[in-house]
């Protein structure tokens, strides 16, 4: 871990980096899609942010600076994987376009996270377990199907519906300015 320059309070940088991890992960994923490429981009971004922490003025917003760094790293991952002929979700031209849209998607991230927390509370425990198994534990649909004792099609349909409803709930919550 690098030494901190005197002009950057350590606590402020660490707090900001921790607070915006979800947004940075969201940016990398919005630009590169799901999968290992986005994880690699996030890891590279975090390393560069640490190295360049002296470039950040604590009196300015952290996220615009961090996403500018992330964009550079996302491009790097894209370039390296393409050279290695590894599978990427987006074609070059689409990826470039998605990088522009990714910034817009993550800038209201704190509000989006708050909306997600409110909306997730309304998901039944049973469906929440399936969501957790899929999205955070990384289980496959056949694995979830076996555990739940339900058909794979039923699991897919359920995931789609709940995910769609969550998205709608979040957008509505954001549109209402966060009112419950």
């Amino acid at each position: 871990m690098p030494d901190f320059p005197e002009n950057v309070p350590r606590e402020a940088f660490v707090t900001a980096l921790t607070k915006h991890q979800s947004a940075l992960r969201g940016y990398c994923q919005a630009a590169l899609g799901h999968g290992e490429a986005a994880k690699e981009a996030l890891q590279r971004t975090n390393i560069v942010l640490w190295k360049k922490c002296s470039n950040w003025d604590p009196d300015t917003p952290f996220l615009p600076w961090a996403t500018a760094v992330a964009r550079f790293e996302v491009k790097g991952v894209f370039r390296d994987r393409k050279r290695e002929r590894r599978r990427l979700l987006f074609d070059s031209d689409v990826a470039e376009q998605m990088m522009d849209n990714a910034v817009e998607a993550v800038l209201p991230m704190p509000e989006r996270l708050e909306a997600l927390e409110v909306c997730l509370e309304k998901v039944s425990p049973k469906n929440r377990n399936v969501l957790a198994a899929f999205y955070s534990e990384g289980k496959t649909i056949p694995e979830i199907s076996d555990e739940e004792g339900r058909g794979q099609s039923a699991i897919k349909v359920m995931l789609m519906r709940v995910r769609r409803s969550l998205g709608q709930c979040i957008e509505l919550h954001l549109a209402k300015g966060g009112a419950k």
Binding site: Q21, G26, Q29, G33, L120, K122, A132, F134, R163, L172
Partner: protein, 430 residues
């Protein structure tokens, strides 16, 4: 933008099941379509948030099971249900004489028992299930997706994605597999179930009976004994059926469509009454979608499409676009006499409808109605037999200042008078 297809492809991508053809299709959908890319970016960013949030909650649960002092399950901290009342007084099951009124919007925890002494109550569960109960009745909240009807008449509707709402009765347990049924429980405990839409199971897994739409049974309390089929009759449930859609007041020459009329609104004929028909629920109305009315006021113009010919002497109103996307439930208000009748001509039909949610907008122009049938009409609805949909020159539509009430005066001529009313969806709960 094909939102559904994008969601399917991203789900397959998350599950690592996207083949090359689908990957190419995904890129084609996103290429040069800014709206699709904005949606995709938000969707993917939200997936990242979702993964983090679920992981955080899982870590909290792991900690809780290791340390009994902190047994806390985050998602049960939310209220199990929210009570929506119209103008009734609800008594809790407390010592005699200690009745307590509950206010509309109050959040109810599991274990709460409601005694409905007058009129009706509508309860929205955390799962999205809706239960409308008619007095006299007693309903106990069991959880986010379950209740016990001790006695009374109730309609249960499960319009959202979360199925499996359980309604326990003295006779047995009913599970809604989607989407609506009526149940009567007498003080003696005798229970009858009428399934309007979808499927209901009666009893536990082993030996459970499946009851399908259009059928009704009297539930047998004895284990292992089959239920008795009875005649299908929705009449006892018409009030709770109507309440379950959030209709607080229905006055004038208007009635609410029965369950069996909902599926084929284009074919329902009633010379004596306007008909209010529930259509789709939880529809994502895109921003910039043109509507005819979006603000309170009185409207007596005939609506024409932008750029179309307006006969001399007639006035018209411009189409107005919503400024942002909204989640709505859709209702049709129509007069359809079938063949022209001398008694229906020039007879004004006046009606008033009050919703428990705000009216977002109204569509009253025939081409606009038809254009959005695929988005807003009940699946399989067929309006091909209807001519002259929309309103005519002497019709009047009023949207109240609080946006909850519409009043219409249709000056009936030949053909169908019809408007589509879009209200704020109750499907925020998941």
């Amino acid at each position: 933008m094909n939102r559904t297809r994008l969601e399917e492809l991203f789900l397959a991508s998350y599950a690592d099941e996207l083949n090359e053809l689908e990957r190419t299709e995904l890129n084609k959908l996103l290429r040069d379509d800014p709206e699709a890319r904005i949606f995709a970016a938000r969707f993917l960013a939200t997936d990242a948030l979702l993964a983090d949030e679920l992981e955080t909650s899982s870590n909290e649960r792991s900690f809780a099971t290791q340390n009994n002092r902190f047994i806390r399950i985050a998602w049960f901290a939310a209220a199990a249900a929210i009570l929506m009342l119209t103008t009734i007084t609800v008594s809790l099951l407390m010592p005699p004489g200690e009745a307590v009124a509950i206010l509309a919007g109050e959040e109810l925890q599991a274990g709460r028992v409601l005694t409905i002494a007058d009129q009706e109550a509508k309860i929205k569960f955390g799962s999205g299930a809706l239960v409308a109960v008619e007095a006299p009745a007693s309903l106990e909240i069991l959880g986010n997706n379950a209740a016990y009807l001790h006695y009374g008449v109730a309609t249960v509707r499960v319009p959202g994605p979360i199925k499996g709402f359980e309604l326990v009765t003295p006779a047995n347990k009913l599970v809604d597999l989607g989407t609506s049924f009526g149940v009567t429980v007498e003080q003696s405990g005798k229970t009858a179930v009428t399934v309007f839409e979808g499927e209901v199971t009666v009893g536990d897994r082993i030996g459970a009976e499946h009851i399908f739409a259009g059928h009704a049974i009297r539930v047998n309390r004895e284990l292992g004994k089959p239920s008795e089929a009875i005649s299908y009759d929705t009449t006892p449930f018409l009030d709770t059926w109507k309440s379950s859609f959030g209709i607080e007041i229905l006055q004038g020459n208007v009635r609410f469509a029965q369950p069996e009329e909902r599926v084929s609104p284009g074919e329902v004929i009633d010379r004596n009454s306007l008909l209010l028909i529930p259509e789709r629920e939880g529809v994502n109305l895109p921003a910039q979608m043109p509507l005819n009315i979006i603000e309170p006021g009185t409207f007596t113009v005939r609506f024409y499409r932008e750029g179309s010919y307006v006969p001399p002497g007639e006035s018209t109103a411009k189409e107005i676009a919503l400024s942002k996307a909204m989640l709505v439930d859709s209702f049709l208000l129509q007069y359809n006499p079938g063949l022209p009748s001398p008694t229906s001509k020039d007879k004004p039909f006046v009606s008033e409808v009050r919703f428990d949610r705000e009216v977002i907008g109204i569509i009253a122009q025939k081409d606009l109605l038809a254009e959005y049938d695929s988005l807003l009409a009940f699946p399989e609805a067929d309006f091909s037999g209807q001519i002259h949909r929309g309103t005519a020159q002497n019709d009047e539509i009023i949207l109240s200042p609080d946006r909850h009430t519409i009043r219409v005066a249709f000056d009936i001529e030949d053909g169908v008078d019809q408007i589509r009313v879009l209200v704020e969806s109750h499907l925020i709960a998941l």
